[in-house]
Amino acid sequence: MSDQNNKWIGKRTIRPDGVDKVTGRAAYAADNSMPGMIWAKVLRSPHPHAIIRGIDTSKAEALPGVKAVATAKDFVDFPIDKPVPLGIQDMRWMSRNMLAREKALFHGHPIAAVAATSQDIAAEACKLIEVDYEVLPWAVEIDDALKPDAPILFDANQFDGKPSNIAGKLEHKKGDIDAGFAEAEVVIERSFTTRPVHQGYIEPHACTVSVGADGSTTVWSSSQGQFMVRAMTSFLTGIPQSSIRAIPAEIGGGFGGKTICYLEPVAAVLSRKSGRPVKMVMSREEVMRATGPTSGSKSTVKIGAKKDGTIVAGQGVFYLQAGCFPGSPIRGAAGCSFTPYTIPNVLSTGYDVVSNRSKVAAYRAPGAPIGAYAVECVLDEIAQAIGMDPLELRLKNIAREGTKAVHGPTFPRIGFAETIEAAIKSDHYKSKLTGKFQGRGVANGWWFNAGGESSAQVNITEDGNVVVTTGHPDIGGSRASIANIAAELLGVDYNRVSVLIGDTATIGYSNLTGGSRVLFASAMVVTESAEKVIEQLKQRAAKLWGIDASAVVWDNGEARPSGQHTGNFPTLTLAEIAAKATETGGPIGAGSQQNTTGAEGGFATHICDVEVDVELGTVTVLRYTCIEDVGKAIHPSYVEGQLQGGIAQGIGWALNEEYVYDKKGRVDNPSFLDYRMPVCSDLPMLETIMVEVPNPKHPQGVRGVGEAPLVPGPAAVCNAVSNALGIRFFDLPLSPMRIVAAIDANMKQAAE
């Protein structure tokens, strides 16, 4: 589809939900209320690890205004030794994360919940709940959880034949790793650590749930998937899915962190017990203590290359924190880290480590930035060691069409070479650094991207307009892109298309808003629906003209007779056909439900310039460019927005953000004051270069763009700081204290 012929695809249209969002009218989860609604609060564990011997809720229940109290006993019991997978989660762990069952596993772990006529009464009642804890030794950090005498979270979990906190191992192998390193002329091996970072969405988790006397259940909440909410609520409460209607509120950010439930099943239990709609809203402190974050990690990466820059071997070992339940993104760390490159011999291993901290949740290309951080920092040293430009080194070794990735698949046509070439040719890369403690870093990143299940319905209204319904919460402007595609395909004005996000009762099953899949998959089902609608429109026109439908063409929003009938009838617009729908066969509309495939991975390259204040240890980002193969930018502004947002999160991960724990195993910085995300004055303008190599497996050429732009960030920033100071850094974040300490140590070493 050539750009010149596109009227709407590629245009910077105004998003359909925009006016509501700039006027304060858009309804997010916490903005909802219902008649007779009451409020619920959660009692949380004061201990990082403790057996729950008993919970006495009688005093709380006796407090005037209290309508219901819930504990784990009110949930469906899933025995710990039998997996119950649901999407990317396991209900054994979800159940215990929602409300602790046998043990409290982290400080802040929900123990019980109270619904009452006011928030204050609910909070007061929580204090009246008596919990009999047997406090246990605990381990928060990876090293502590792996010590021989470490407290074991789940005795049933075995590794190497004995109880362990290693809950899983993943290995990707290709070639002969020892032979590969034997061939190498330069070998560099380094160990790295990264800290857990939170997704940092500004909207805390919130929901309102109403369970009626007949069992019909309405859930209004903010999530990255109303169908996930429905299924998880059903699994954990026993309410059948057919009785649950999950309505997606506008979502105030997610970044993966809302692909999981924390509140809805609890509110459903409380609503069922109290007979009242129940509203729950987390505080920021609760969000920081008990939701997300992504894993902290320790890793070792070893890369061998020839002096001409050919990489011959790559080995990585990645330990990732899972939090208190198994399921860290080792697949992202071990699977993505070497994938951007054609390396004949690879061994990449990931370990899933449980410890007494909140269960990790997905965060934008889960695990991939951790793997890329280690690999891309080592590649930088390889480039230095052989005296090669760091981007040229990468370009020499990149995956191309036909390369078999270490995790299995063979790449189709990809735009990775174009991406790096665009980086090398960019004004940014050609520019010169001008200051003494300035440095430049580059890095690449790759993310799987997802396809999966999506549904859409395209209906033509009686007045000749278009209503598109899809099943994915719009987290960053996807409605606008969908409207662009629908307007383009149907040949109507963009403003005549509205795009709605259906609830679980009004649209077919649609998987998560995650995996960079929303526009990729939505476009496929909307395209198929629109094509079916066009067929109907042609049939209706044929009927009105009394000719065969095969003799009608749809062109620029109009039916036109063709072949022997060319010019015999005046064209019919969509509106004209819609006006006569009743007499030609009834309402016009069509749906599509698919399990989409062909998403293919996303490649990004980052260039970062920094300046370090060597007295204060602070890092200023001077200039930053993200170059990414986006396939086809359906709405360039929102594609740029994804790239820019990814850059900012990567800078935060590299420089500021980290979970700090106190000596009692508690998060010590559970606020936006102390958990320091980038603010406006921390950043420069963020440059983007969108490389468009269309995805051959997609009708519009779309590739997922949401996650890849975070992947290279931490490495690019770290390489820039290392370059500015001539000191390599291996541990994130690059906080002022850490930088000053490294400078001091370096000076001391130089003096000796």
Binding site: I202, P204, E250, G253, Y638, G645, F672
Partner: protein
């Protein structure tokens, strides 16, 4: 505990409401006053999603007691557009895609309007420092800063 009766002006309309002594202005706006445009992102004055103005001064409504509104004038995001006429900042944010999820947007817009009232010709640095109290996790701020500066330029042009 007895409620406090408050008489105030919100978005130009004289308004009365009852509040608990400890109730924040944000809770009063979002609860009894049904003005849910201001959002609670943190409740500690760190994110700016609850930004309003009090007698023209930019404040975090989560840090202000509802009772303090007595006799003062408050404006919220709901008062930014004039009827169906969007404020130039609102229009520019739409045109330049300066929002993604939109949860921070009401606070950012209220803060940006306050900036332009104080300083119709801000430098990029001045915009960045003025908005440093409004967290956005989606955009990386680039399009927000550009939209504010372009709006300022448009408004200066219109005022000539």
């Amino acid at each position: 505990m007895a409620k406090i009766h408050v008489t105030t002006t919100i978005n130009g309309d004289s308004t009365e409401f009852l509040c608990d002594p400890a109730e924040s202005m944000l809770d009063a706006l979002r609860g009894p006053l049904a003005l849910t445009g201001a959002k609670e992102g943190c409740g500690t004055g760190d994110c700016g999603a609850c930004s309003i103005t009090l007698d023209g001064r930019l404040v975090c409504s989560c840090l202000m007691l509802a009772a303090e509104a007595e006799g003062h004038e408050i404006t919220t995001i709901e008062g930014m557009a004039q009827g169906d006429h969007l404020h130039p900042l609102q229009q520019k944010f739409l045109e330049m895609a300066a929002l993604q999820c939109g949860i921070c947007t009401p606070g950012v817009l209220v803060a940006a309007k306050s900036l332009l009232e104080h300083n119709p010709d801000p430098s990029e640095t001045e915009v960045r420092y003025w908005l440093a109290g409004n967290l956005c996790r989606c955009t990386g701020y680039d399009k927000i800063v550009r939209a504010v500066m372009e709006t300022a330029a448009d408004m200066r042009e219109a005022a000539r």
